[in-house]
């Protein structure tokens, strides 16, 4: 029976090619637009470390004065000062913990004919690598001792290694950064989790390439390498002595492997704030401990524009579906006589309904196919936009599948009304008119 409906549907679609083409095109445009924006939204709100994100936590405390403070309603600052970060680091709780900031590192090429250039760098502590499961191609990270000794060591990314050493094993080589020599101890495999969760609020981008190099926080600060973002909560005497200034410029991450560890750490943080209040360093008791995805949501990392685009695309799809309903209806009512004949020859309402739904779903599948084309075109357009997430915009298998699901759903919804109209037509008047 299905084969017969298919045959009927194809015949009917062929009979009025312009109308059919318009329906398919309308549906395809709506689907193309919505799949493009959905793909983007899914990529941008994705989980950067799916196997681990639930065990990684971002800690916050609040050293601000009482001005503008409402107890229980004020959120703690997103960055942490040096003293607090070091206190938490040395308290030693959690499986791993790391403080980090971003910096601009000036790389001086070996050949004097080349000009120096800036690269993004992370200044952090030893646990950064095991905590975020950073994959190494050669060598490895530095030790806690290196942190204490302010060792001039550096870990470089795959792309910097390609650029400087043509991809060869460069562990042990010396690299000149900010007019000081650093020994390379590790080279990473390609590593750039998206969104760039650990750079949030530190003055980095939310999406895009990873950093070119990683070095011990203590070493970088001893050489006066400045963090990208500094927020001060009181007047500063000497901005170069950031370790003592009333300024926040570090992010603090901790890995907690069980629900109990999380609860313990929360209590530890709250106690820490109380202790600091007793010491007179803090005026506020607020603390926060958000897991990785919670932190990204809290920072509203997905750009508003992308959400608005998604709403717009679905509004557009709705318009396309209503238009398809109109066109299908026009097509179906024009065939009242044909339906009359079929009904008179014994076709039930149900079979007429099924026939029209098959026709609608063919339009839907064709719309999906062209919609896929439009989506690829749309994503190609996004990749050529200046946005920092542009290079990520690619269709994956899930979205490929959902294109057809959306197309089929849209066309079946669009087909409901015309199919219902067709099957409730009384056969007699239609036959008389013929």
């Amino acid at each position: 029976m299905f084969g017969y409906y298919l045959d009927l549907a194809l015949r009917s679609l062929k009979r009025n090619r312009v109308l059919t083409a318009l329906m398919v095109l309308t549906l395809a445009l709506g689907i193309g637009a919505s799949i493009t924006t959905l793909t983007l939204l899914r990529l941008l709100s994705g989980d950067p470390l799916p196997q681990k994100s639930s065990r990684l936590f971002y800690a916050q405390v609040d050293p601000n004065s009482l001005s503008g403070y409402v107890a229980g309603q004020t959120k703690p600052d997103s960055l942490m000062g040096y003293v607090d970060a070091m206190n938490l680091l040395h308290a030693g709780r959690g499986t791993h913990r790391a403080a980090l900031a971003l910096t601009q590192a000036k790389i001086v090429p070996e050949h004097s004919t080349e000009h120096p250039y800036f690269s993004d760098g992370v200044i952090t502590t030893t646990d950064f690598f095991p905590m975020f499961e950073v994959p190494f191609r050669y060598g490895n990270g530095w030790t806690a001792e290196d942190d204490t000794n302010r060792a001039a060591l550096v870990v470089i990314s795959d792309f910097l290694n390609d650029k400087l050493y043509g991809g060869a094993n460069s562990v042990g080589k010396m690299l000149r950064i900010n007019n000081h020599d650093f020994r390379i101890v590790g080279v990473l495999q390609h590593w750039a989790p998206q969104p760039r969760f650990y750079t949030q609020e530190l003055g980095g981008r939310s999406y895009g390439d990873g950093e070119a190099l990683f070095m011990p926080l203590s070493t970088a600060r001893a050489l006066n390498m400045d963090p990208q973002d500094i927020e001060c909560y009181a007047s500063v005497g000497n901005i170069n002595k950031l370790e003592e200034a009333p300024c926040e410029w570090l992010g603090f991450w901790v890995q907690l492997d069980s629900a109990k560890a999380v609860a313990d750490y929360r209590e530890f943080l709250a106690n820490y704030a109380k202790e600091q209040m007793a010491l007179g360093r803090f005026k506020r008791s607020e603390t926060a401990l958000l897991d990785l995805m919670g932190w990204l949501r809290d920072r509203e990392v997905v750009p508003d524009d992308v959400r608005l685009q998604t709403y717009l695309a679905f509004g557009f799809l709705l318009i396309c579906v209503v238009n398809t309903v109109g066109l299908l209806l026009a097509k179906c009512l024009r065939r009242s006589r044909e339906i009359g004949v079929r009904r008179a020859l014994g076709a039930t309402r149900r079979t007429v309904f099924a026939q029209f739904m098959v026709e609608a779903s063919i339009v839907g599948l064709a719309g999906g196919l062209f919609g896929l084309l439009f989506a690829e075109l749309g994503l190609w357009g996004v990749r050529h936009q200046p946005a920092e997430y542009a290079s990520l915009a690619r269709l994956d298998l899930t979205m490929f599948g959902s294109t057809f699901a959306v197309a089929l759903a849209a066309s079946l919804i669009a087909g409901l009304l015309p199919a219902w109209r067709a099957c409730v037509l009384a056969p007699a008047p239609q036959l008389k008119a013929a």
Binding site: T26, G68, Y233, N240, V325, A330
Partner: protein, 409 residues
Amino acid sequence: MQIRPILATLRKHRIPAILIVLEIALACAVLCNAVFMISRRVASISLPNAIDEKELISVSMHGADPTRAAADIPRNLAALQGIAGVQAAGVISSLPLSTDNWGWSFGTQPDSVLEDRSSDQNTNVSLYMMAQGTERVLGLRLRQGRFFNADEYPGSLIGSGALPSTHVTVITESLAKKLWPGQSPLGKTIYSKPAYFTVVGVVADVLRPRLFGSDGLRSYHSSFFPMGPDQALANYVLRCPPAERERILREAVQKMQALNPSAVINGNTYEAIRNRYFADTSSMAWMLVLVCAVMLAVTAVGIVGLSSFWVTQRRAQIGIRRALGATRGDILRYFQLENFLLVGIGILLGMLLAYGINLFLMAHYELPRLPMLYLPAGALALWLIGQGAVLGPAQRAAAVPPVVATRAA
């Protein structure tokens, strides 16, 4: 033309009529909001900026030895001035729209401190520190008071502090209005204990290194300070004829690289800096324009489809009306009026929907209320599209000969 027969017909053909109304309503709702988003973006892209943007080149220098700033800055300036075609050279800490923001909060009371975070006490201001003569290179337009005197530059340094060690400042008109509404700002002082700065001049509005949404007012909270040779002065600016910008830019970058081999040098025309700042915004605006155009086309196609189907279905009735004496004009106007009515109902529903969506977006995103002007403008656009789309089918209807009446049924 009578409306009652049209209404009677519409009542008999409810589904196509409802579909047209629905199409128009949806198009209206989405269109109004999309156009509103476009207009807000265009507004921020076209924010005026009172410097001579077309004549400016910027060459930034970072990563140089800070202890040599006193010697390097005059030498670099002299070298840049020596390039053929350069009319004037200066150096400033940052440029409008360069994203490199040096911000600080000031109050208007002598005991104002940085800790006063609430906005009614303190105003966040962007700082531009500049060497002597840079105001002429940028083309700052003085509105009141004076620029800095020659003796105010050399002693003003930033060193390891966060604010320049001067006590004079020049601010923008918008900032003056915000700080002292209705009063003359000259001689008034801004404070952030222990620092204080007295306003000696007011310039036309210059944008900050970073904007605050499309909030025109806050985006102009800029202030200028004199500065001696200090490492904070990192952006060399050159004034030159627009036609020679590219050549001069190349020469200036080469010269700076040769003079400062260990520093990182970047050269851009000011227009490139501005375009890069707004690149995202303008590509989003173009995308919205494209979506609107396609949406209108889809809606028009839908109306054409439904109307022509409708005309075909009513050939017999049209024939009878013609036979009873209706002219071609009558038939044409009948369909046009019918479309006008349907689109009108659609617009009514659509506007309600548009303001509903707007309220939703206002609650979740930083969007202001949809201006009332969108009501007549959107209505007019949709009525025009409706009339354009119905013209073809209506003409076909008018061409139905009266003789059809005798043939059918």
